[in-house]
Amino acid sequence: MDLIAPLLTGYGLWAPVAWLVAFVAAVIIVYLLWKTGESSYKKGTQLERPYLSGNVEPEKGAVHIRASNLYWGFLQALKGYYDVLVPVHTGILSDYLIWFVAVTALVLVIVGVLS
């Protein structure tokens, strides 16, 4: 099978060589743009911090809208549910295993009783 030959499926065209040429052209354009940048730029200095009238840059979350703002209403509506559930998510694997074993045992008991 010729890996670099164009493939016409009837629904579309796949031409690896065309994609490769486009990718190389994009890389060359990006490199040329990068070369026009300020060469005296120093990493790890104030040059890479935003200019805020000389003030210290606040923590990002303090000045940006956090992602959780998008679903704030959802969390508020289900507050009673999340108040219980969030503390349970300890991030400790053994806690999750205990929950798994306990819930499995409970389900088996219920199934056993009902059957």
Binding site: S40, L47, R49, Y51, G54, N55
Partner: protein, 143 residues
């Protein structure tokens, strides 16, 4: 990569007030007005130190402004020149014995060009800018 060598001589200036009475600011504004029109030589005030070649500092540097002045100075890319405009920046001026000063400017930043006066006239500021340009060309040649 430079667009053209013609831009080598255009100075972009960032103005920082560290506690000036605004007398120097009035003269700086007079300097950039059409009567003197330094923009025909490519010299203009810019809104960010990151775009500047020259840091133009006025005022005696109050305690609140010292850290901010250092931060702004670090945000000007190399090669850079610091100009001290006015008597307050050189000696503290009428505020020389104030409890609230960390300055004068050369106690906080390395100053390259001093323009004396309270406030200095636009002609003096332009002369200082020419001196700053000469210094900058030497720095660029050394790089």
């Amino acid at each position: 990569m430079k667009l053209t060598k013609s831009f080598n001589r255009s100075l972009w200036v960032f103005h920082l007030n560290t506690g000036s009475c605004n007398g120097c600011e009035i003269e700086i504004v007079a300097t950039i007005c059409p009567r003197y029109d330094p923009e025909r030589f490519g010299m203009k005030l810019v809104g960010s130190p990151k775009h500047a070649d020259v840091l133009l500092v006025t005022g005696p540097v109050t305690k609140k402004m010292a850290a901010k002045a250092r931060r702004v100075y670090e945000q000007v890319p190399d090669p850079k020149v610091v100009m001290c405009i006015g008597t307050c920046g050189q000696s503290g001026g009428v505020f020389y014995d104030s409890y609230n000063l960390d300055g004068p400017i050369d106690q906080v930043l390395p100053v390259d060009v001093y323009v004396p006066g309270c406030p200095p006239r636009p002609e003096a500021i332009i002369y200082g800018v020419v001196k700053a340009q000469e210094k900058l060309e030497r720095l660029e040649a050394a790089q």
